[in-house]
Symmetry: C2
Subunit: 341 residues, 2 copies
Amino acid sequence: MAATIKDIAKQLNISVSTVSYALNGGPRSVPDDIRESVLRVAKELNYRPNRVARSMVTGKSDTIGVVPPEVTDNVFLSPYLHLALNGIINEAGRQHQDVLLFTRCSEVDRDELASILVDGRVDGVIFIAPHFSEKSVELAASLHSPCATVSGVPLDGVLSFSVDNESGVASAMGHLYGLGHRKIAHIAGRLDMQDALVRLQAYQAFLRNHHISYREEWVGMGQFTIDGGRRAMAQLLTLPEPPTAVFCANDEMALGALFEAHSRQVRVPEDISIVGFDMTPGSENVYPGLTTVRQPIGELSAAAVRALKALIDGKEPQEPTVFQTELIIRQSTTCPKEHKS
Amino acid sequence: MAATIKDIAKQLNISVSTVSYALNGGPRSVPDDIRESVLRVAKELNYRPNRVARSMVTGKSDTIGVVPPEVTDNVFLSPYLHLALNGIINEAGRQHQDVLLFTRCSEVDRDELASILVDGRVDGVIFIAPHFSEKSVELAASLHSPCATVSGVPLDGVLSFSVDNESGVASAMGHLYGLGHRKIAHIAGRLDMQDALVRLQAYQAFLRNHHISYREEWVGMGQFTIDGGRRAMAQLLTLPEPPTAVFCANDEMALGALFEAHSRQVRVPEDISIVGFDMTPGSENVYPGLTTVRQPIGELSAAAVRALKALIDGKEPQEPTVFQTELIIRQSTTCPKEHKS
DNA sequence: GAAGGGTTGAGAAACGTTTCGGAGAACCAG
DNA sequence: CTGGTTCTCCGAAACGTTTCTCAACCCTTC
């Protein structure tokens, strides 16, 4: 039985509109004495404005929605999603927005996913690393509801924030190449995701540019997971001619590769060098520390929130933004054996 | 300009109530032919129900709120909060609930925090590890809105989920004691949080029960953070008589302690043993692997969601639930030096 | 003292749903 | 044919806000 604006009005024998104006410093002024008594009675009755009712009228909710790439158990354990979500939350707080997490996208069909985008509970939506097959981004764009993607395909009507994968991959591969590696394998992520595909292509482009022939058996599919990385590494290590270095499309697969190497008594980096991508917290404290490509996931996500908020506020949509990466050299990479002695 | 129920009614020349019944399989039946045409037109018009309006009438939102212990930048980077949030999201999805993250608790006063609890956007709230000073839990309880705490103080009218800290601490301390350690220090967490306080007390109780005298200088304050753990460890290591083992109230502080030991050329576990608490993912892959006390944070949080949902659905409130811990012995603990040779 | 402007506050509409009350039609049993 | 039950479906109320319209009043100013 929460108190409403009507209760206040009744108690003071004034109209609800006056109460509303007083409470909000509303579009109209009210005399000081009335305002004070309204505030007093509001406090007495323990009045709390009902945000749902307000949303109903204003059409605003001060809440932004976040759609994960998929909804399976423990998606949010992914370090990438973790960093992205953290960045979103940080910035959302600053922008005075709450965050609504959609947890039910998988069990409903795409149509319904679209419905949650426009059901009035959020002012805008951020899609984190959507799959190519995910139609809801286009749907959201076609509904003209403010939306943004983090690491998605740039699309008309959608704010887009991504990282310069090409130069990131080039720096990682260049590092290995510079150390003398020529037998460089790649463990790719889920190819139905933008980052994975682009990184694979950039890997291939690097080989081409450096006149190294592309060998299909040196590309493993790691699905962006630790286990996937392990399996892919296992395959690579049992090849008749194994590579001397592995570039992984994210840190989790790199960790998996590292663990697989450990369990097969293959030394890292002496026997094989490993490079990751993302610079997740977990890449730092393993043994040996993982050489990786830092991408500013948090900043990228925060920028998405900022731009989304601006769009919601009626500003002009921001152009697609590409963030730069940075190579972080740690202990998991060194010269190939043949080169050394 | 989203289509509404009215548009459907107008197009078919029937009343909105009939449309609503048809759409919802509502409390009343409608003839099959009408239902079908309603569904058809709804599809044609791309109709999406407005959840806000529905909430308004039904008073339900199918959304549960999550309140972090505090809102500062990067709170959600905390592995504890990460695991808790992940557990909540997993279970919320299963219970067909979305998750609203409150990002704005710090800048508003407690009163306002309470207001977001009952502003109609959520059906219930989960407080994760609230501080003692946090009045909003009591406030929420007094407002009779469904709420739960994870690792909070048990309180009337609040569902409570926590872990058996006493036995967890006893198993960790017992492990060190069994290895021969008698000089056991403790790095405590934020003492304005339930878990930290109880673990400190359990540490003291263990010493008492084993007739080891309590030494104040062997208790460091680590604030539950890596940096705090580092600083506390630095102090312990510069003591005239340093301890041979350190029991930390969480894994992050244990990692901090580990790193500090590394940087001072103090070997772990040969020179000093370290035990953590939580079994966060980060504790596994460091060198040496961290002995720790596993607490099922995810399950605990999931249970909170389940119980909260049941309460929202009008079931009887579940009794406070205490989860058991499990000692995970890895490589960061061994016998003290004096004992060995 | 009348015209005009500004201030004040009451009343009501609107947002999009759900669901109740009840009117009319159809059907059945007596 | 009558009385009761069941089926249809319309109209309207309700949820709690925000904000518009409009009337009443007060104060200038000519």
